[in-house]
């Protein structure tokens, strides 16, 4: 399974059932309330039964992902960040040692090759912070490898198509 998770609508048609495109801007996703229900009450399921519950199973299953997000202050902007916070049901509460640091044990989550397409008006300092953020994310989000592409908003579809073509080879 492959996933394209975007914070805006992408005008792309794919003839490949193995690739799922999710436009987060078209979904209703509440903020995580930090209740830890997904770890300690209904393990593996968020207690907020909105559209996020349809997204994190795809994040878990996919071994290749493309995340498309606007950048704010060197991190993900609200739409993507809201979804990433709501994705913690795919981890367990329990902690292990991973790359010399403490991190959560994942549930049935595929190891991922990730591509992060970051767009917006991004300064060099923000780029550096974003790169270190993705490095940290890679430990917590089961990325085996990742690539970051900084792009203009107008070229995103082009960039996504190029990366998908590489998948299909």
């Amino acid at each position: 399974m492959k996933l394209i998770l975007s914070d805006k609508y992408l005008d792309i048609t794919l003839n490949n059932d193995d690739i799922k495109i999710i436009d987060l801007s078209s979904l209703k996703i509440h903020n995580c309330t930090g209740c830890f229900g997904c770890w300690t009450k209904t393990p593996g399921k968020c207690v907020i039964r909105d559209d996020a519950t349809k997204v994190y199973p795809y994040i878990a299953k996919s071994d290749r992902v493309i995340y498309v997000s606007r950048i704010k202050y060197g991190g993900y902007d609200t739409v993507m960040k809201t979804m990433l916070e709501r994705a913690i049901p795919i981890q367990t509460a329990f902690i292990r040692l991973h790359k010399g640091e403490t991190h959560h044990i994942q549930r049935d989550v595929a190891l991922k090759k990730a591509i992060i397409i970051a767009y917006g008006n991004i300064s060099d300092e923000e780029k550096d912070v974003f790169k270190s953020l993705i490095k940290r994310n890679s430990y917590n989000m089961n990325f085996e490898s990742y690539k970051i592409i900084f792009a203009n908003e107008s070229e995103i579809e082009e960039v996504v198509k190029k990366e998908v073509n590489k998948w299909e080879k």
Partner: protein
């Protein structure tokens, strides 16, 4: 004489660890401090009060290696309301993992907000093992650091502090496994159930 506006930006502010850290801060802070929760709907109200304060103290948890959306959205509102008198922004951040450095990127994000909007970043306290430390004998370590942290704000000698449980990672993992197992038990959920590999259905 300065005055501190404490803003709790935990998504579960009312029942948060951040609230406890803020209370400890208020206890030690030698100048006036007023406490507020950041909610989805009170951004404007909070922004209108900001000019009455010499310092802002954001208290919040690390969420997905970064600042929680609750805080991100508040900063985005604050950005649209330029203040003529800008308080110095200090931070108490806590994370679940034992390494306080896991908070570093969230701090950089705050520092970029400050730079882009003309605020000065003041003192920073990074707490590791922040989910559980207040319920352990190591609470005194947090108290000590918050005391020093608050005095740095009062004296305007801004600094970076950090603290965590003084345990080996192996011991921390053992302790956290017990913490979460007990948490589940209180909900009638066993450790095996909590360990399920299944996600949704």
């Amino acid at each position: 004489m300065g005055k501190v506006m404490i803003l709790n930006a935990s998504p579960r502010a009312v029942k948060s660890n951040s609230k406890c850290y803020a209370q400890i801060f208020s206890k030690y802070c030698k100048i006036d401090a007023e406490y507020f929760n950041v909610s989805k709907t009170n951004h404007n109200e909070l922004c209108e009060k900001i000019e009455q304060f010499s310092d802002i103290l954001f208290v919040f948890p690390l969420y997905a290696d970064s600042i929680p959306v609750t805080l991100l959205n508040f900063l985005k509102t604050l950005e649209t309301k330029p203040q003529t008198k800008k308080p110095v922004i200090s931070v108490i951040i806590n994370c679940g993992f034992i390494e306080p450095q896991q908070n570093d990127i969230a701090i950089k994000i705050i520092s970029i907000f400050c730079k882009q909007n003309g605020y000065t970043l003041g003192s920073v306290l990074k707490i590791g093992s922040g989910e559980a430390i207040l319920q352990t004998p190591f609470k005194f370590l947090v108290e000590l650091k918050i005391k020093k942290f608050s005095s740095s704000i009062v004296k305007r000698k801004y600094r970076v502090f950090q603290t965590t449980m003084p345990l080996s990672k192996k011991m921390f993992i053992k302790a956290s496994t017990k913490y979460w197992t007990d948490y589940g038990k209180r909900n009638g959920v066993t450790k095996e159930q909590m360990m399920t590999m299944e996600i949704e259905d």
